[in-house]
């Protein structure tokens, strides 16, 4: 769960973009980086890539303040999707407060989506994360490509998982913000009561998301 640093008056969240290889996790981060006001985010730190595959992780830190002066920090990570880097993926995922599962909408990627999702659930179990109660979103990316599964089929296919769905084409920025918003809203709901976000710090759900983006 979110860490509160008394000395810095800072509440810090770890949000992880998970999903199969080449589904667009890093692209989501790059697009998000462009959408967030420059003074509230750091630079994307990409640790080694090989042929567009992330080898370690990408990191985009976002920082903003509540009217009360409370600092809020969101650390956005991507995992390496390649199944040969499974251990690294698990280590990056551990201690996450929220997860975006970036799936590839193309029909021929259905199996790799399913396998990757299964692996995510598995890792969450092993690292002691309670997925049921966590902030989470499935993003169906690459809607711009031909031969993608219909939204209706997607809903049917993923209904059982109980994860909220969003649709995106991250390469041109479509849906990236919606996904991020869907996740951050859940994060807000989880900490609102515990840290008196609205009553003590003057941050509503709407203003929280807006503040995160710097708009």
């Amino acid at each position: 769960m979110a860490e509160y640093d008394q000395a810095k008056r800072e509440l810090c969240f770890k949000l992880v973009y998970d999903g199969p290889a080449l589904s667009g996790k890093t692209t989501n981060l790059i697009e998000l980086c462009a959408l967030i006001a420059a003074d509230q985010r750091g630079e994307i730190m990409s640790l080694e890539t090989s042929n567009d595959h992330t080898l370690f992780f990408d990191l985009l830190p976002v920082r903003f303040s509540a009217p009360s002066g409370l600092n809020i920090c969101l650390k956005l990570f991507t995992v390496p999707g390649d199944s040969t880097l499974d251990s690294t993926r698990k280590a990056v995922l551990s201690r996450a407060d929220g997860v975006v599962f970036v799936a590839d909408s193309q029909r021929n990627r259905t199996t790799s989506n399913d396998q990757s999702f299964e692996s995510l659930v598995n890792h969450a179990g092993k690292t002691g994360m309670a997925l049921e109660s966590m902030a989470k979103v499935v993003q169906f990316n690459k809607r711009d490509l031909p031969d993608v599964m219909s939204e209706k089929d997607m809903h049917t296919h993923w209904q059982a998982s109980g994860w909220p769905l969003t649709f995106a084409s991250a390469v041109d920025g479509t849906g990236v913000l919606e996904t991020f918003t869907a996740l951050v809203e859940q994060i807000y709901r989880q900490v609102d009561r515990r840290y008196s976000m609205s009553s003590k710090h003057g941050v509503s759900e709407r203003s929280f998301v807006g503040a995160a983006l710097g708009i």
């Binding site: 985010r41 690294t88 698990k90």
Partner: protein, 406 residues
């Protein structure tokens, strides 16, 4: 304690002291002014110490990593150069962060992989142990099954044998009993007739006629005496046949497969009568039976045991040899022994005599099941069958049957 790769990094995480000193020295040259790097608690990490004279008019610039202030750069100036120096240090810190995070992540991954390997290793060991236990158990279970099959095979054989003997005995007894009845009856009647003939002899003698001459010439008086003796012997023989037939029926106990309370001495006598015919010439069966309590068992089965042991003994003895059958009651046990002074059993064979199908007789002469079945039967009554032997001296088979505790 493992450092988490995603923690907030401090200045000392990012910049080793020796690196910081080198960096400060180089920057001082470029700047043409002294400078120092401070951490968040205002401690000097590298550069000119606090209170130095030429640090009078200080410019302080924060050093940042990804929006986080991690320390400060202090220098008397000039400002643009100091700002540029801070940017340069920020770049160094970024590189440090990249290194630090990937190293810690790598370590975290390696540790968890190692942990997983150890867990898998433990699981493998556990499953190997379980497999070994299973395989050991399997061996044992196969052996048990083999024993069960052997036992049921023997029981089956024994049951078959008993049944066929029983049927044969019943058939023979029925067929023999009828003619034997009228033979005995006729013989007795014929013996009555000889008395009439003797009376006729007396009449012929007193007449002194031609008949008497013939009578004397044929020595009919002696003939009649001899005839009477012949008939008496025949009657005796017929009675023995009749006894054997009835013993055979008792032996086979065709009509009874339930346990009953038996005086085992009676069974020993019956078996002796049946086996008598198979004894070598002049071999004797000596019977020494003490009073026994009644014992509950199947007559046909215990007879089978006695017959097997007695026939074995008779097989072993030479003409003129001797088989002793003794019974006694000691403590709570009935002891029955068949002792012969025959050829004995070599030590090599003695350990195998109870093995199923072990026989030293020619093919077809023995099944090798006699002792095996006998011991099974004795054991089924909670008893023991033991064989002691010395080659050239003889063999003794002892049955011990404990009476059930009241």
């Amino acid at each position: 304690m493992l450092k988490q790769f995603d923690r907030d990094l401090s200045l000392t995480d990012l910049l080793a002291v020796s690196e910081a000193r080198l960096l400060v020295a180089v920057l001082a040259e470029l700047l043409g002014a002294p400078l120092r790097i401070l951490d968040l608690d205002d401690r000097t990490i590298a550069g000119v110490a606090d209170g130095a004279d030429d640090m009078a008019a200080l410019i302080t610039v924060p050093l940042t990593l990804q929006l986080n202030t991690v320390g400060f750069l202090q220098s008397p100036g000039p400002l643009p150069q100091v700002l540029a120096a801070a940017k340069l240090i920020d770049q160094v810190l970024r590189a440090g962060a990249r290194y630090c995070m990937s190293a810690d992540l790598h370590l975290e991954t390696v540790r968890s992989d190692h942990q997983r390997l150890q867990d898998e290793h433990r699981a493998l060991l556990a499953s190997e142990t379980r497999l070994r236990e299973l395989s050991d158990g399997l061996d044992q279970r196969v052996n048990e099954q083999v024993r069960t099959i052997e036992n049921s095979q023997r029981s089956l054989y024994q049951a078959e044998k008993l049944a066929s003997v029983g049927q044969l005995a019943a058939g023979v007894a029925h067929e023999i009993n009828n003619p034997l009845g009228f033979i005995r009856s006729n013989l007795n009647t014929a013996r009555g007739y000889t008395k009439t003939l003797v009376a006729l002899g007396a009449l012929v003698k007193s007449d002194r006629g031609q008949a008497w001459v013939f009578w004397q010439a044929q020595d009919l008086t002696e003939v009649l005496v001899d005839f009477d003796e012949l008939l008496a012997e025949n009657i005796d023989g017929a009675e023995r046949v009749s006894k054997i037939v009835s013993d055979l029926m008792v032996f086979a106990s065709v009509d009874n497969d339930d346990t009953e309370l038996l005086d085992l001495n009676e069974n020993l006598r019956v078996v002796c009568n049946i086996a008598q015919g198979q004894a070598p010439a002049d071999a004797r069966i000596v019977v020494d039976l003490a009073l026994l309590p009644l014992f509950e068992c199947h007559a046909n089965r215990i007879n089978q045991v006695f017959l097997n042991l007695l026939l074995n003994a008779l097989h072993a003895v030479q003409p003129g040899g001797e088989v002793q059958i003794t019974s006694k009651f000691v403590g709570n046990e009935i002891l029955i022994a068949f002792k012969d002074n025959g050829c004995g059993i070599p030590a090599d064979n003695l350990s195998r005599i109870f093995d199923p199908f072990f026989t030293t007789r020619p093919v077809g002469a023995g099944t090798g099941l006699g002792l095996t079945v006998s011991r099974d039967i004795v054991r089924s009554y909670g008893g023991l069958l033991d064989v002691q032997s010395e080659p050239g001296v003889g063999t003794t088979a002892i049955i011990r049957l404990a009476l059930p505790k009241a």
